[in-house]
């Protein structure tokens, strides 16, 4: 396989900025904002990128791929394009390179790097397309893009990711710095206790580094309690600092990925807290969510509004220079115990991860994948903190006294899953001036009421 087969001379000569270096520099004082955005129509995709670039916020661009491309069903992409059925993302593997080059032309540059987001346990074709297009920022991971999403055996996903990451890392020989973000801090979107999110994020970053990538970011998805989230992001920063053999890493905070509020006020409040979480912990990047999230795929305008709102909220949320709290928090201790137990299994991080899941040293609550033990479980306490109900075989017995296995009912699960929606929809219903206003004024009312 040829590593770089440029669409034309211009593409071959194109030396994109290092996404990691860019975000670390721009995000040093306030987090860089990023949408989740992918359209199947190239013109719409280009318009979305242009609007992101123009937004009144420090931003980076996103191309999110469609679900058929993610699962490797390229036949379904062709069929949908032929019939004119809109896909839920940009089919980068199926479009000719020139088409994608045109989407990017004049938009991506030293002031506007673009990240490709997918979600595939079989990402070889996607990585090959990125390499040809010199799209040098993407995300994922052998665990986080496998276990939550399907039935691909974890060992296969690890092999696929090893092969892809090595090829991607070889871009460095062409003078292009490839960047990879772990998706491990977002496992299943909700109900995974923060210490395990932190641990998997760090382990995937170590996996990427092991296979040659030197520009890294580590994700953490906002959960259900703000103070617990702050503790978790600091734990992530501390462990990353201790374990990653490179300076070129940053943290990206995802606005809540679970059941989202249904009122505009509730949506903006959750997004505002995600931005504040990043600002308080010195995290360099935020992936935003929009007011449309609970109903449908958002429009470009809704995305821009979310980017601008989050930038404003991060500004307001920052009080002085963030400093890592002294002492080892509970989340840090748990995350470190998980990471150490996994790394002791094998010097190769991929093999270590496969063994860890086999033995239940990593075990994701509610994950249906055949390679997940499914013995660990979690619940929300009265304050909305994510707690362990049952540890299964997780190596945390010296640190955690689990609440004991609880019989989960469908209504109990639904209550936990919709905790954030309920809490923030209700909170915003009583905010002065927060309801009944058009979104623009409403969000200002919410920002100023804090």
């Amino acid at each position: 396989m040829t590593l770089v087969r440029p669409a034309d001379g211009e593409l071959a000569a194109f030396a994109p900025v290092d996404f990691g270096a860019f975000v670390r520099e721009r995000g040093a004082h306030a987090p860089v904002m990023q949408p989740r955005m992918g359209m199947s129509d190239p013109a719409a995709m280009r318009a979305g990128l242009a609007a992101t670039k123009r937004a009144a916020a420090s931003t980076v661009g996103t191309i999110t791929l469609d679900s058929y491309t993610r699962v490797g069903d390229l036949g379904a992409v062709t069929e949908a394009l032929r019939q004119g059925i809109a896909l839920n993302g940009y089919p980068i593997v199926s479009y000719p390179e020139r088409q994608t080059a045109e989407v990017l032309a004049g938009l991506r540059g030293r002031d506007f790097p673009v990240q490709v987001r997918h979600g595939s346990p079989v990402p070889q074709a996607i990585f090959a397309a990125l390499i040809r297009l010199r799209l040098n920022a993407t995300e994922g991971g052998p665990v986080s893009y496998c276990l939550p999403y399907g039935r691909t055996p974890l060992a296969d996903s690890v092999r696929n990711w090893e092969e892809s990451v090595r090829r991607y890392a070889a871009l460095r020989e062409q003078g292009v710095e490839p960047h990879l973000e772990t998706f491990g801090g977002c496992m299943l979107g909700q109900m995974c206790p923060p210490s395990e999110l932190v641990a998997i994020s760090v382990l995937e970053a170590l996996f990427f580094h092991h296979h040659g990538v030197r520009s890294l970011s580590l994700s953490y998805a906002q959960q259900t309690n703000h103070e617990q989230d702050v503790e978790a992001v600091w734990a992530l920063r501390r462990l990353a600092g201790e374990l990653l053999p490179t300076e070129n890493w940053h943290v990206v905070v995802y606005a809540y990925m679970g059941v989202y509020p249904s009122t505009p006020g509730g949506c903006y409040r959750v997004l505002g807290l995600a931005a504040e979480l990043a600002a308080r912990t010195g995290s360099e990047r935020v992936i935003v969510k929009t007011v449309a999230e609970s109903v449908r795929i958002p429009t470009v305008e809704e995305n821009v509004a979310a980017l601008e709102y989050a930038a404003e909220a991060a500004d307001l949320g920052r009080t002085g220079t963030p400093r890592m709290p002294a002492g080892e928090s509970q989340t840090y201790l748990e995350a470190r115990a998980l990471v150490e137990a996994v790394l002791e299994l094998d010097p190769d991080p991929g093999r270590a991860l496969v063994q860890a899941f086999r033995r239940g040293l990593l075990d994701i609550p509610y994950c249906l994948h055949p390679d997940n033990r499914g013995r660990a479980s979690s619940y929300l306490d009265e304050a909305g903190r994510l707690c362990w109900a049952d540890l299964g075989a997780l190596p945390l017995r010296h640190l955690v006294r689990p609440a004991g296995a609880r019989q989960v009912s469908s209504s109990g699960l639904l209550a936990d899953l919709s905790y954030v929606r309920r809490k923030f929809d209700e909170e915003c219903a009583v905010l002065p001036g927060g309801r009944g206003l058009p979104p623009e004024q409403q969000r200002r009312a919410i920002v100023s009421s804090r």
Binding site: I85, R296, L368, H369, P370, S409, S410, L417
Partner: protein
């Protein structure tokens, strides 16, 4: 949470819960499993991104009282149309109650025409997120699969 071989000794009728081929969402499936179990069935949960062929094979083997497909990624309409035909082409699944629900298109609610197409393709009912919702689904399962449970044989249409 896992289905499969461990459930062989269970005498409750089986319901297959499954995502469709391109949909990677899990929580809808976890919730449906708990809900259907509470209604007195055992559930084999095939999880997200289940290829058509695997869904057909598993259903042929399990001869379930009901097949519940759930999709929230916006491709449920296309994926549902396609797989319904493949399920209905199997003689032993020709009359098995088959339903789909969730967010089936990328533009919010599906229009009447698309629901009609899904029903014509072989679904016995289509449940849309928000519009008809959970109560309708519970009513359906209490009648369709419930009648089937009493009859003790697969294949009572809605």
């Amino acid at each position: 949470m896992h289905g499969g071989a461990a459930l062989v000794a269970d005498r409750r009728p089986t319901v297959v819960v499954s995502g469709v081929a391109s949909d990677s969402h899990t929580w809808n499936l976890v919730f449906l499993q708990l809900l259907i179990e509470e209604l007195g069935y055992q559930v084999v949960n095939l999880g997200p991104t289940v290829p058509d062929e695997l869904l057909v094979e598993e259903c042929q083997e399990l001869a379930p009282a009901l097949i519940v497909l759930s999709s929230v990624n916006g491709h449920g309409f296309q994926d549902g149309l396609r797989v319904a035909g493949k399920l209905r082409d199997c003689q032993e699944l020709a009359a098995t109650p088959l339903v789909i629900g969730g967010k089936l298109g990328i533009g919010g609610e599906q229009n009447e025409r698309q629901i009609g197409e899904l029903l014509a393709a072989g679904f016995d009912a289509v449940f849309q997120d928000g519009a008809t919702g959970l109560a309708d689904f519970q009513r359906f399962i209490n009648t369709a699969a419930g009648a089937n449970r009493l009859a003790g044989s697969p294949g009572v249409p809605a």
